[in-house]
Each structure stands twice: as C-alpha cells, then as structure tokens.
C-alpha cells in the first residue's frame, strides 16, 4: 500500500499537505477580513494595504523569501519578538514554510474573496438588518454564505500555490529534510542533481495528484455553494 513511495517521499508529501492545509486554514479568516475591509470600508491607506497584499505576487519569490528571512528570522525584529514573547520560532521550521506559503497565496485568496464580495447584493444585507440582525450577524449569516464560491476558489488557489511554492520557502526556511523539505523543494533539489530526474518526475506526479484531489473536491463544493447562492434547489 505504502510501497509506491519511499519514506522520504512520504515525508515530503505529508509535509506539503500539512503546510498547504495550515497555510490555507490560517490565512482564510484574515483574507476574508482583508477582503471585507478593502471592499466595504473606506479607510485611509487602503491602496497601500492593497498594494502590500499584492507584493508577494509581484516580487520574485526569492525576494519575498529574503524579506521573510530578514523580518522573521531568529535575528529579525518580528522573529525575535515572536520567539521572546510566545516562544514561536518560524525560521527553518515547517511553521515558517506555512508562513511563506500563506503569504504567497494571500493575494490570490483576497482577490477571489473580493470578487465574490463585490457580487453580493447589498439589498439582501439590508433586508437582514431590518429583521434585527446586526452587522456582524448579517455578515455571518448573509454575506459569508454568499461568499462561499469566492472562499472556495481562493482556498484552492492558495492551496495549489502552497503546494507549488518553493522560491520564498526555500529562501526563508531552507531545505531541511523532514522539517521544511516540501514536495516542491524536493523536486527542485532533485532537479539540481545530475541523477535526480527520475525522482523529480515521481514527486511531480505526486504533487499533481495531491493538488488534483484537492481541486476536484473543491469543484464539487464550489458547485454546490454556487447553486445555493443562486437559490436553486439542492
């Protein structure tokens, strides 16, 4: 059963899945909040925030990785503070890989959610408010369910990005077997060695299968969510 993969490959697969899932899970609420802020609230510095969010997309991943390393490394200002205060270490740990993946996927997620958010009919929200629901409850019961297609699309983009990310990750948390050596990094490493092609191809196939599974699941969810949002019978 487990034979088709070597332990090292299993390790990379598991790590990739773990990193991608955590990064999606952790960044999702933040992405929803950010999208909401950017779409609905007119605060000063909005375009700066918007720009910052898109940075990981614009910059070569290596640059993002270096920035992470400088800020979140054990000697970095934020990394040092996190370690002193909460004992959280990101540099050269899988948690750092989660941070890198989350950051790289963040603009994709925020964009998708914003698109859905812009499509929401504000008349439904005002109807809910006349029925006694405050802003927060309206958001949870009316807006959020209608955001589902965007959230699912954002999550799958971010998950795929999390699986595929390596530039920022390898720069930030390096390529440490069992800790930060995700599928992508492993594939990259194998490509760097003269004899690694076969292994690289194997791992590539695994990465593709993993992402396809997530993709198909998300498509089903998204279709159901979109039918619901349109008020169609289930």
């Amino acid at each position: 059963m487990t034979d088709w993969l070597t332990p090292v490959e299993w390790e990379a697969l598991g790590l990739s899945a773990k990193v991608a899932i955590w990064s999606v899970g952790l960044s999702l609420p933040l992405a929803v909040a950010t999208a909401y802020l950017l779409t609905r609230v007119d605060f000063p510095g909005r375009s700066v925030v918007n720009g910052l969010i898109h940075l990981p997309l614009v910059l070569p991943p290596v640059v993002t990785g270096y920035l992470l390393l400088i800020l979140f490394g054990t000697k970095g200002p934020i990394g040092g503070w996190l370690e002193d205060t909460f004992g959280i270490v990101l540099a050269f740990r899988w948690t750092g890989a989660v941070l890198a993946a989350a950051l790289m996927g963040f603009p994709l997620m925020v964009r998708a959610i914003r698109l859905s958010l812009e499509g929401i009919d504000p008349r439904m929200e005002s109807a809910a408010r006349t029925l006694g629901a405050g802003r927060a409850v309206v958001f949870l019961t009316i807006s959020l369910p209608q955001l589902m297609p965007g959230i699912i699309a954002g999550a799958i983009l971010s998950f795929a990005k999390g699986v595929g990310e390596f530039g920022a990750t390898i720069t930030f948390v390096s390529n440490i077997p069992g800790e930060t050596r995700t599928l992508s990094i492993a594939i990259y490493s194998f490509l760097q060695t003269p004899t690694g092609d076969a292994a690289a191809i194997r791992l590539t196939v695994i990465a593709v299968v993993l992402s396809m599974a997530a993709l198909i699941a998300s498509e089903l969810l998204a279709r159901r969510a979109s039918r619901r949002v349109k008020g169609m019978e289930p």
Binding site: R123, S126, A128, T130, L131, G132, G134, T141, R228, M232
Partner: protein, 384 residues
Amino acid sequence: MSDAVRPTPVEIPMPLEIDVEKRLGPRFALSVRFEAPGGVTALFGRSGAGKSSLVEMIAGLMRPDRGRIAVGGRPLFDSRAGIDLPPEKRRVGYVFQDARLFPHMTVRRNLLYGQWAGGRRQGAMTLEAVCRLLDIETLLDRRPGALSGGETQRVAIGRALLSDPALLLMDEPLASLDAPRKAEILPFLERLVHETGLPVVYVSHAMEEVIRLADTMALIDDGALAAVGPVEALTGRIDLPLLTGQGEAGAVVGARVVAHDADYALTTLEIEGGGRLQVALLSLAPGTDLRVRLRARDITLSLAPPEAASTLNVLPATVREMARADGAFVHVLVDAGAPLWARVTRLSADRLALSPGKRVHAIVKAGAIDRASLGGRTSRVPGK
C-alpha cells in the same frame, strides 16, 4: 363623526411622525412632513412619487438629509438630536417591493430569520399560523430561486410578520397576488392590525386595499406631500382624481352592526345619522363599529322611493352640493344623515332638476356593498 366610529387620537397608541428631506438624484428630491395618529397609514401616489424611498427611510436603510422620524414618540431618526438608529434596532417588519428573500436559505430559514439571527421574540404569530394564512406550508423546504412571483411575495410577508415587529412597513405587499388570495390575507392583516394596535405603513396602488385597511392616507406626488388625512376624508374628496383614476371616488361613513337576518343572510347596519343599510351577512357581533365605503357610482338618486325593485337600501336625503366631475357626470353631495356622494349623468340631474336643498332618495344596492368596501373596526386594544 362620532367617537365610537372613529377612535379618538387618545386611544391610538402609536402616532407616526414623519418629517424628512432627501435629495435622491439630480432631478428628484423628497420632502415630506406629516403626522399620522397611528393605525394603518397608507402611502398613495403615482409610480416614482417617492413612496418606497420614504419607507426605506423609516426602516433606516436610507438616510434622510435632515428631518425626524418617530413612532409612538420614540425617535428613530432625528438629524438635530443626532439620532439615527441602525435598521436592526428599529424593530420594523419590512415587506419589500422586491421581496428580497435570502437565496441561500430555505423558505423556512427565511421565515424564521428574524428569530434565528435577529434575536427577535416569537411574537404574536407562530410559524404554523403564518404558513396556514399564506398557504406556504408546502414551500418550507424549498429555496427561493424557483418560487413563483406570488409565492415569493407571500414568503416575504410571512418573514416580516414573524419578526415580531413594532412597526410594519409593507410596500405593495399584495401586488402580484390573485384576488382570492388577497381576499384571504386582507382580513387577516385587518385583524392583526386592529387587535394588536401594530402601526403599519402601507404602500399600495389598489384603492380597495387602502380603504379596507388604512386609517390615514398620505398622498405623495413627485416627492412632496399632496394631501394627508383620514381615509374617509380623502376618499370623499373628488378633487383628487390622482387618487383613484375615476369612478372610485365615494364616501366612507362610520356604521354599526345592528342586527343579523340569518334566513336571508343579511346584516343590518346603522350608519351615522341613523340611516339603515342591509348588506350581506357579516360575522361581526351587533354593536361592532365599522366603516362602509359607498362609491359615488353605486348610488342612484330618485325623487320617489323605488317600488317593486330589487334594492333594499333607500335613504331619504337632501342635496347639499353639485360638483362637476367630468363630461357626462356630476357628483352630487347629499346628506342622508351622513354625507354621501352620488355620481349621476348631467342628463339625469337636469331631468330630476337636482339642486341644493332638493329632497331625494339615495338608493344603494345591497350587492354594491361587498366585503371590499367594508373597513373592519373593532374596539381597539388601548396602550400596548
């Protein structure tokens, strides 16, 4: 008009104060100020007059540029005092002109949203009662997407009713319903309103509904208030053809149930001034006060009382005033104890030599007074 027939303002628990100004577009501004003594206030006016906008301001979904909105003395909005309650704090039940059902929830969820998410109490009505009234039991587990126009509207009414409102805002709630359905829902609304004293703002283009439900009527014309007053007074004004097109003008008179004739299924009413009318049997106890609308076009004037005719209601009267209505017709105001309008051709008026002071008989067919012309009015629950 006697106090028994029209409750005095003192008895009316929830007066409505409206005083708003709002610019909506380059061409349209709304500026309306009136007070209504509570009960049902009808907003009447042509398409685009600003009725829905006014209702949205009461609900807190549109912010007036300035002004004050209060219900039962409780200010919902007051630009001077800096009060602007958010919609969820206003406790209104709003039936939108465009329904606005939540597409992602089942009909049941939609109906219970106010209780489930809005923190509203169960209120006067149960889900079962509302479903029965609106005949939507079979829709409960469906989603709004494929409901028919009328089904959608009924669910929207149910949702507002189930949110335990302190003020009901209804924007053409019955517009796309069939007559039999309206005939079921109207008496219910009537009862609801009169039993609970719930103030209602009601937008409608259908005169029957307004007559039937409304106590006060506000006529909106191009963003401004054209007239406001008790329904009786406004529907009696034949200078407001805006109201009704034509042919719908008439008098609304207070009346009291006097007796029932079970054999012939007739009820005898005594109208103000003591005249008696026989109408189809009403399930109202003798002594109940109500409002009867006598349309000018349904009243015949005769010099002699008719003989051997199928009309039961003949009221001796005196011509008070002749008002020209349109080409062929003249509206004649007669005093039959209560003031009544009759619409007769000029030819007949000349033939009968009608003029103020002339004694005539006003003939009203029993069949012309149907349920749609009867505004129910039972003793109100004071306070609440």
